[in-house]
Subunit: 124 residues, 2 copies
DNA sequence: TATAAAGTTCACAAAGATTGAACTACGGAA
DNA sequence: TTCCGTAGTTCAATCTTTGTGAACTTTATA
């Protein structure tokens, strides 16, 4: 990881790639933490915040997938690799998508009592 | 497949599950076709429309994943299994998400010339 | 230089995807 | 009813992807 990390150009970011990157609960949680941390977060810190007993090699792989999908950008600061969400690029490419997905995530994270009860499980 | 197919209740539909189901290019395309077909589509028809040389067992698996994620509902009509997007349930659970994702998909499917050119590949 | 911290890469085991073949379900014709 | 064709599912084998510990690289500091 000596040279600058490869980040896909905006035009190379695909919807399926983004959805794939976000389709993992751990990565979804990481990105939420990143969105809450404008200054960026490194691997170790993200792991600590999420309280996940995850080996650092696994975390590294998750970060790589997020990076290659175009979701995050990473830069070295000292020994750390600090990452942040590429909000500008994503907004340009797919306006509103990120807000929508993480709006849904916040909604899901709310305890059930804070939402309107929806008892009927109508199919359709 | 004699008994009614299992469809998750609205409350059991998770964001990560939906994203996972949509994270595959084939499934993304299938769901778009379904969204365009209010009367529903069966496996064979969807395969034909997408022009994919995909074995029917593979298509069946994709439909199963879509069904188990809560994205689609399927019902038997004669020998066919007709499926449609569970728009009402999804809107109730995650308002705006489906529109946002498939808005992004349509945007991506447009030829590049119809979008504003974005030459600079700024990271971030 | 030596030591430590932060990540990456490698290699292997475990889990998941793809697909042809065999099977089930249904409808229609004889 | 029985037989046949169509639509999908399930099974099993193969292939691919993911998770992980160990070893390695990079940077900083004593």
């Amino acid at each position: 990881m000596s040279r600058p990390l490869a980040h896909p150009a905006a035009a190379a970011v695909t919807l399926a790639g983004l959805l794939f990157a976000l389709a993992d609960p751990v990565r979804l949680a990481i990105v939420r933490e990143l969105l809450r941390s404008p200054a960026g977060l490194n691997c170790t810190e993200a792991r600590a915040r999420l309280g996940l007993a995850m080996p650092k090699s696994t975390c590294s792989q998750h970060y790589r997938i997020l990076r290659e999908s175009g979701l995050i950008a990473s830069e070295r600061r000292g020994t750390e690799l600090v990452s942040h969400v590429r909000a500008q690029v994503l907004t340009e490419r797919f306006p509103g998508l990120l807000e929508s997905v993480f709006g849904a995530y916040e909604r899901e994270c709310q305890p059930a009592g804070r939402r309107r009860a929806s008892r009927a499980a109508a199919v359709g």
